[in-house]
């Protein structure tokens, strides 16, 4: 069991690093898929079968696919020109996040308590379903409305013709001015 968790953990971390480090967005998506998969397995370890399945279907299935579509659509090159110095240059960002991570670690692990005894049906679809449609009925309905709004939003955003590129409004910038606009021809 511990070995299995070790493997899952490594895969998840590798995926995580892959998402942020890969140069081409497609690689990032794949890395994301890896993270999702490993977490799904981890959920099983934690007796959360329904969530694990759900994770696979929705996250891995739908969201990642969407990402792939968008990446395909945009052919965005991953080459980014570091024009504006970020508030936190990568060199500085990592140590800060490391500190943050340590603190988070301390806080979370500190809060851990002895696992409570739990029945065999814990985490199964029946029990989660029973809870979902009894105590969480209202949030469930709310969730359906949120989804509906999401769909309408996506349709509206998709259909609307984008305004003409806003260059006209911008004051004429001399050549070589810091922010030159990179044209990406849409093949």
């Amino acid at each position: 069991m511990a070995v299995l968790f070790g493997g899952v953990a490594c895969l998840a971390l590798a995926g995580g690093v892959g998402v942020i480090a890969s140069r081409r967005p497609v690689h990032s998506v794949l890395a994301l898929l890896l993270v999702l998969g490993s977490l799904a397995v981890d959920y099983l370890l934690l007796d959360a079968q329904f969530i694990a399945v759900l994770q696979l279907i929705i996250y891995a299935g739908a969201i990642v696919v969407l990402f792939v579509f968008v990446i395909m659509l945009l052919h965005a090159r991953s080459g980014e020109v570091a024009r504006v110095p970020a508030v936190l240059p990568p060199a500085a960002a990592i140590p800060v996040c490391a500190v943050f991570g340590l603190m988070l670690l301390v806080v979370l692990t500190g809060a851990a308590i002895a696992p409570a005894a739990v029945g065999p049906a814990f985490g199964t679809v029946q029990e989660v379903g029973r809870a979902l449609f009894s105590r969480f009925l209202l949030p469930f309905e709310a969730a359906s409305i949120v989804l509906l709004i999401g769909m309408i939003g996506a349709v509206v955003l998709g259909k609307r013709l984008p305004p003409s590129p806003p260059d006209a409004g911008r004051p004429a910038e001399g050549p070589g001015e810091g922010r030159s606009k990179r044209r990406v021809e849409l093949r």
Binding site: M1, I20, D47, L66, L105, T109, F122, G150
Partner: protein
């Protein structure tokens, strides 16, 4: 529940931190988006772990709703990114600074 909980929580913390680094460092909106997804998953992991620790299924239900929200978020987010791309032909987060103060 053989694997002690702190390990899961440690994994969740590290994953969350990785996601945050991604958000802070990367310029491409898509990558930022994915990093956010990673952070969300880290949170889900923590929820599930505590659900298991407390033996209460509500934790998992929370994850369910997080999933729903994440889905909607991705849909809308990507739609916006597509829109921005068509308008400004760039996905670079730094170019999108019209709302400068």
């Amino acid at each position: 529940m053989t694997v002690p909980a702190p390990y899961h929580l440690a994994l969740s913390a590290v994953l969350f931190t990785l996601g945050m680094v991604g958000v802070l460092v990367r310029r491409s909106a898509l990558v930022v988006f994915m990093s956010i997804e990673v952070m969300l998953n880290a949170v889900n992991l923590a929820f599930v772990t505590f659900a298991r620790l407390r033996g209460v299924v509500d934790g998992q239900l929370l994850v369910f709703f997080v999933l729903v929200v994440a889905a909607v978020e991705v849909v809308i987010g990507l739609a916006i990114i597509v829109d921005v791309f068509r308008a400004m032909e760039t996905v670079d987060v730094d170019d999108v600074d019209l709302l400068r103060g």
